[in-house]
């Protein structure tokens, strides 16, 4: 410790002597002389805190106060513990003073706050990208870390240079023991950033929520994922947020976003659920016999292949096989198949500021589900859904604009019919009041403004059946969100009745619209 102190003292003395010897040949300005300029030498001033930068900048034009200068130098050393600062003042011909903070790095290796700086670096390795992809300069500089004690500053700078050379990658650094006692190895791990992947894992609307008209429900996914593969068991309890039916069940989703290449992936989902039908739905079905009826257990299998043309643009295609068992009281009726061919186009783009916190983010999807007898389906229909959302962030504020529209031709089973009036669409309305059996046409738009944890929204939309009256409904309200926790209070606007719908719960999804993706 004594040696360390002596070395630090020595560095400081060298600086002071340099300053003093230079000053001896120049005139020392008197206390109170007007400061013409103040600068920092030997250190990038922009690395200091804004407050300290400002205080140093404000010295110009003020009377020379050496105590204040000493305080500023002390603040600089506190902010940059590996540096020492000496003050140099000189007098100009007009009698004004010039102030320079001479800053120098302390060479004592033990002053590096990382205790591992006493160990010798044996090897430096970059994992995750081939050596040939690293520029020769950087490769050479990486090797300069070897054979001497760890310089954490230099290692940090190399971190930054790797980030510059591989902007679409995340860089992490790991240091571990080498074989020889007192020696260490440094490894930089370079992995493709999530946002830069060609294919993304499909979002799922995981939630546990309460709707004042529809009650409690939950869809709880448990993510088990590696870099390219995800297995997602999902349990649903009494959820009525996305379909006409209230259902409970479970399922599992398996996804890979790399099949030999980053551009090709697959998606497989199996699920089984037992719906419960609300009274308004059963009554409406009785009045509308042209709509396919209620069913018992619903079991689905959905295998898809996905291909990315660009990181922003991908397509998916496959089939959805669904078996609908009859209700318990209709056991003589055979189960029905609702098999569809699925095609989908996805777009996602983000830009502005940093990749991890983009200023703008836009997404869009167009999905077609086609039920046809050639797939042994008992239902013949086409279902189109287009949806898009855009997010703009600045500071603590955020605007989210989303829209979707859908159309069904033919007789689609109830789980395919569109609904609005849940925790994300027409907030303030109840889907069982709007259309208790859903509709075959739908559009919905929503604008949300978030500031800190508070959110205001306006929703507009309509769901109807072909040939019936299309009524556009509006709602507005406010909410509170923090991470997955949310609460909203929505009010329908164009209605004679004053009412409010309260929703609260947890939501683990990043999708802003409520339509299922495939």
């Amino acid at each position: 410790m004594r040696i360390k102190a002596l070395l630090a003292l020595f560095a400081l003395l060298v600086l002071l002597l340099t300053a003093v010897s230079a000053a001896a040949q120049e005139t020392e300005p008197p206390e109170g002389a007007k400061i013409a300029a103040a600068q920092v030498s030997g250190f990038d001033i922009t690395k200091l805190s804004p407050g300290l930068q400002q205080d140093i900048g404000k010295l110009a034009g003020t009377p020379l106060n050496r105590q204040l200068l000493r305080e500023l130098a002390a603040r600089l050393e506190t902010e940059q513990p590996r540096y020492v600062a000496a003050i140099r003042t000189t007098q100009d011909a007009d009698g004004s003073a010039r102030v320079t903070f001479v800053v120098a790095r302390i060479r004592d290796q033990d002053r590096d706050p990382n205790i591992n700086s006493k160990y010798i670096v044996d090897t430096v390795e970059v994992k995750g990208v081939p050596d040939r992809d690293i520029s020769p300069d950087l490769r050479q500089d990486l090797q300069t870390l070897t054979g001497k004690p760890l310089d954490s500053d230099a290692a940090d700078r190399l971190d930054q240079r790797l980030k510059s050379e591989f902007p679409n990658y995340d860089i992490s650094r790991r240091t571990s023991r080498a074989k020889e006692q007192g020696h260490i190895n440094v490894v930089y791990v370079v992995t493709k950033a999530e946002w830069a992947r060609w294919l993304r894992f499909e979002p799922i609307d995981g939630n546990a929520l309460f709707h004042s008209d529809q009650g409690w429900g939950a869809v709880l996914p448990l993510t088990i994922s590696a870099r390219d593969v995800m297995v997602l068991p999902v349990i649903s309890w009494d959820t009525a947020d996305d379909l006409i039916e209230e259902y409970s069940g479970f399922g599992v989703r398996v996804e890979s976003r790399r099949l030999g290449t980053d551009r090709l992936g697959f998606f497989f989902e199996w699920s089984t659920s037992d719906p419960e039908w609300r009274e308004p739905t059963l009554l409406a079905l009785a009045l509308n016999p042209q709509i396919p009826g209620a069913y018992g257990n619903r079991m689905s299998v959905t295998p898809l292949l996905k291909f990315a043309f660009l990181p922003q643009l991908s397509v998916a295609g496959g089939v959805g096989i669904t078996e609908l068992e009859p209700l318990a009281e209709d056991l003589l009726i055979p189960s029905q198949m609702a098999n569809v061919a699925i095609g989908s186009v996805r777009y996602h783009q983000q830009w502005g500021r940093s990749s991890k916190n983009p200023a703008h983010e836009a997404g869009a999807a167009l999905t077609l589900r086609k039920g046809t007898s050639s797939l042994e389906s008992d239902f013949s229909y086409d279902r189109y859904v287009a949806e898009g959302d855009y997010v703009y962030r600045w500071g603590k504020q955020r605007v989210v604009v989303s829209g979707m529209g859908g159309r069904i031709t033919g007789a689609a089973p109830l789980f395919e019919r569109f609904t609005l009036g849940d925790s994300r669409t027409l907030r303030g309305w109840d889907k069982y009041d709007i259309s208790p059996v859903g509709g075959d046409r739908m559009f919905h738009t929503s604008v949300e403004y978030h500031v800190h944890d508070v959110m205001l929204f306006v929703d507009a939309g309509s769901v109807w059946d072909t040939g019936t009256e299309k009524r556009v409904r509006f709602s507005t309200g406010a909410g509170f969100t923090r991470g997955p926790l949310f609460m909203t209070l929505g009010f329908p606007i164009n209605t004679d009745e004053f009412r409010a719908v309260f929703t609260m719960g947890f939501r683990f999804s990043i999708t802003s619209t409520g339509v299922k993706k495939y």
Binding site: E77, P81, P113, S172, G206, P221, T223, G483, F508
Partner: protein
């Protein structure tokens, strides 16, 4: 409920066994919080990867629970983990920087608290009155782990990250309040 969440910027810690003591020849107030536990989770992983972690500790003397600070001390400490000794080292930023090494995690945390004191003269009237202590810590260094996966899903880490108010780069502020205390004359 909403007000309760918006009113608090810090993640409250579990009730701590916080006690106070006089330090620096009875001229300063120090605290002991043996279960503070800031060397854990992501910072601990980072430390065991041989990297350093900066932590900001903020000690405040309050006239009552949730009150405005009458006196405070803030210090930045740099932690690192000796890969060969398998012990922690701490450096207190400042002039001259002070440091200690070959410490267990608990000892490293205790060392930080030992060097975070408030001069008793700054406590004003609370020198002779009951007061509360608020102790906050914030991990300043970000982590370099990959971003969160796109998929929704219930993961404990995701839940903790999501509930944390501040972005990962600066880390949430954790806080504990304890009291009332009174200085013995």
């Amino acid at each position: 409920m909403a007000l309760a969440f918006t009113g608090s910027l810090a993640v409250p810690l579990e009730p701590q066994n916080v006690s106070i003591a006089r330090a620096n020849n009875n001229e300063a107030l120090a605290v002991h919080a043996p279960n503070l536990g800031f060397i854990k989770g992501e910072p601990l992983v980072r430390l065991k990867d041989g990297r350093s972690v900066r932590v900001d500790l903020d000690l405040m003397v309050l006239p009552g629970p949730g009150g405005t600070a009458v006196a405070r001390a803030r210090q930045t400490f740099v932690l690192s983990y000796d890969l060969w000794e398998e012990r922690f080292a701490v450096t207190q930023a400042g002039t001259p920087p002070r440091s200690a090494s070959y410490l267990t995690a608990n000892a490293a945390e205790a060392w930080c608290l030992e060097h975070l004191t408030i001069p008793i003269t700054e406590m004003g009237k609370l020198r002779d009155a009951p007061f509360w202590i608020r102790l906050e810590y914030r991990i300043l260094d970000g982590n370099n782990t990959a971003e969160r996966d796109d998929a929704g899903g219930l993961t404990l880490k995701g839940l903790i990250d999501a509930l944390s108010r501040r972005p990962k780069e600066s880390g949430p502020t954790h806080a504990v309040e304890a009291g009332p205390f009174r200085l013995r004359s």
